[in-house]
Symmetry: C2
Subunit: 367 residues, 2 copies
């Protein structure tokens, strides 16, 4: 559905994927203007020096001061999806992996394709700190979670890490949306290392900045990790672009210099617009406290479900995502949610939200 929305030649409003498609701020535009200069620097400065500087700047900007920058245990990938696939490949074939539920379905897809067995870990279980034991070999938590925005509190992560150490499990954190949420920016690496955990963390720049897919997925792993991650990485790519790494470094500098607040305000304004539009027809946000750049609309059980609403919106040129796929172990349970991306210009989001409200009103009336 995301690919369809992107390749819709008739235009239409694409609110499917979580990639940042906001207008550039003046500060970001000034960074983009320096791209040719970054290109020249890539020719004369060594790749390791460019890469380390980018890792340091980005990870510091999102509170990850204990990440193993410069140790060789942070790999720069073309995307967080590729990072996830490398992890899936490095895990032992046939391993059992507990994965948060619901969450971004791409994780489950890639893991299943690589021959891993999945069991769901509900958000409720996470909040109760009920962690799975044998035969689970690894536990995957998306933090903040996509699409719900749920943040795993620091104490909960510590509990998970200590549990995993006791059970010989690997803790895998997909922190792709972390940059947007201060509450998720506690020093994850310090918590995991203090517990003595075997961990893998994926970070992403793709959700933060509207850089037209010029982005990096970071794949970091602990000193204890014995999985063949480097081998899987070298099968997939030689290196990320040193131009993109410099872009990340510069945008990270802007992020700590007001960029975070500017982006957050924009997303919040878009969330408010959705709340207001859907409120007019009695709908509400499923996750009113969420701070990430997507919003779920909750659909009452006695009204049209998300697959019906999805089709109706498509007719009206608005692309959104029904949430069934996020509920990868139980798609039925996702039928009552529909997801809109908020990382779009305000007018786009406001117009789409009004269309959603209209469509919902008419579908309800016709039923």
């Amino acid at each position: 559905m995301e690919v369809d929305a992107l390749t819709d030649v008739d235009g239409g409003l694409n609110l499917t994927d979580g990639h940042a498609r906001l207008d550039l701020s003046p500060q970001q535009a000034a960074v983009i203007a320096r791209l040719p200069e970054m290109f020249a620097v890539a020719t004369r400065r060594s790749f390791p020096s460019i890469e380390t500087a980018a890792h340091r700047a980005f990870l510091d900007a999102i509170g990850q001061h204990s990440a193993p920058v410069g140790s060789g245990r942070i790999l720069s990938c073309y995307s967080s999806t590729l990072s996830t696939d490398i992890v899936a490949r490095a895990l032992p074939a046939g391993a059992t992996v507990a994965v948060l539920h619901p969450t971004f379905d791409n994780i489950a897809d890639l893991f299943v394709t690589r021959g891993l067995k999945l069991v769901p870990l509900s958000e409720e279980a996470l909040l109760r700190q009920e962690w799975p034991g044998a035969p689970v070999d690894a536990i995957v938590v998306t933090n903040p979670n996509n699409p719900t925005g749920l943040v795993t509190p620091e104490g909960h992560l510590r509990s998970l890490a200590e549990h995993a150490v006791r059970h010989g499990q690997t803790v895998i954190i997909d922190a792709s949306f972390r940059g947007q949420v201060r509450d998720a920016q506690y020093d994850t690496y310090a918590v995991l290392d203090a517990a003595g955990a075997d961990w893998i963390v994926i970070e992403d720049t793709g959700k933060l900045w509207p850089t037209h897919e010029l982005k990096i997925g970071l794949l970091a792993y602990s000193e204890r990790t014995r999985l063949p991650i480097e081998r899987a990485f070298s099968e997939s790519l030689l290196a990320a672009s040193p131009v993109v790494l410099q872009l990340i470094e510069a945008l990270a500098a802007d992020w700590v210099d007001g960029g975070y607040e500017r982006a957050r305000d924009l997303v919040q304004r878009n969330r408010d617009a959705v709340r207001e539009a859907i409120g007019s027809v009695g709908l509400r946000l499923a996750d009113p406290e969420s701070q990430i750049s997507v919003a779920r609309v909750a659909l009452p059980v006695d009204g049209p479900d998300s697959s019906l609403l999805y089709k109706e919106l498509l007719e009206r040129g608005v692309h959104v995502l029904p949430c069934a796929p996020f509920h990868w172990a139980d798609p039925e349970s996702g039928l009552r949610f529909i997801r809109l991306s908020l990382a779009r210009p305000h007018a786009t989001v406001a117009s789409a939200a009004r269309t959603l409200a209209d469509a919902y009103r008419e579908l309800s009336a016709a039923a």
Copy 2:
């Protein structure tokens, strides 16, 4: 070894990977200067329109006029490696695939990782047009071949395509180095379609232009192809960067306007420098007719082999590739070849070739 060479913080001469690391020509530099403008265009022009224009420009520039531009059957990937992995994933698990031998070992690695069975197809068999029958389900030919530079002549491709149709096989062509070699720029898609073949073709911009990993791997497939390629693609990425696609379009325009000749002359001059340097110690090029941007040096059976020479060169700060891995089905047979990338500034190649000659002379004398 390629990753090690890239991350060698002490500098040294890196002649391992086939990625273009030449200096920009003035014409290419003028294209790079337009990157910020391309970024702005990516915001206001639709993705399908940018992508189709890039496909048309690039494929026309390398003679592939019958490629299915605009049909939806050309997917833009971050790299040709990712294209290869998507093909590996789309092929039925357990399928038997004949792969050219020797060739770029990444193909064999990715296919084996995805659970495919491989059988080698020698260059001699290709030249004799002896194609494998059952139980082979697909035949992979790298054209031009890496590292040997062997071009599959048009008539040979036709013979392969007709054979594959008779045997219900898929023809897979990795044409990553095609842009460098006019002899390989006959219209591959016309040949394959005329035979009625089920085909997949991978094209690459990464070997042509020194764009610091801002590149695209194209994955094209025939109307007859029933493999779940789109599904595998959508698991891997949403879309390539519209900025990079515009970069490709502009560099393709330069390629047909003298850029090809400028790059070819540079590579030829580098090949001559290697020939001259190694000739001084009685060594010769293994593939004197090759036109691609890598060169194999042949090592006599009574002298040091490539693994010994590789280590000695490492000591002297020169990174090259011993060829055993390219002989993925029989590594021993690659011990007598060592590969240098020619897509580097002339001084780098000339200096590395002289070091290679010196190292060979001293190792031979010590033996």
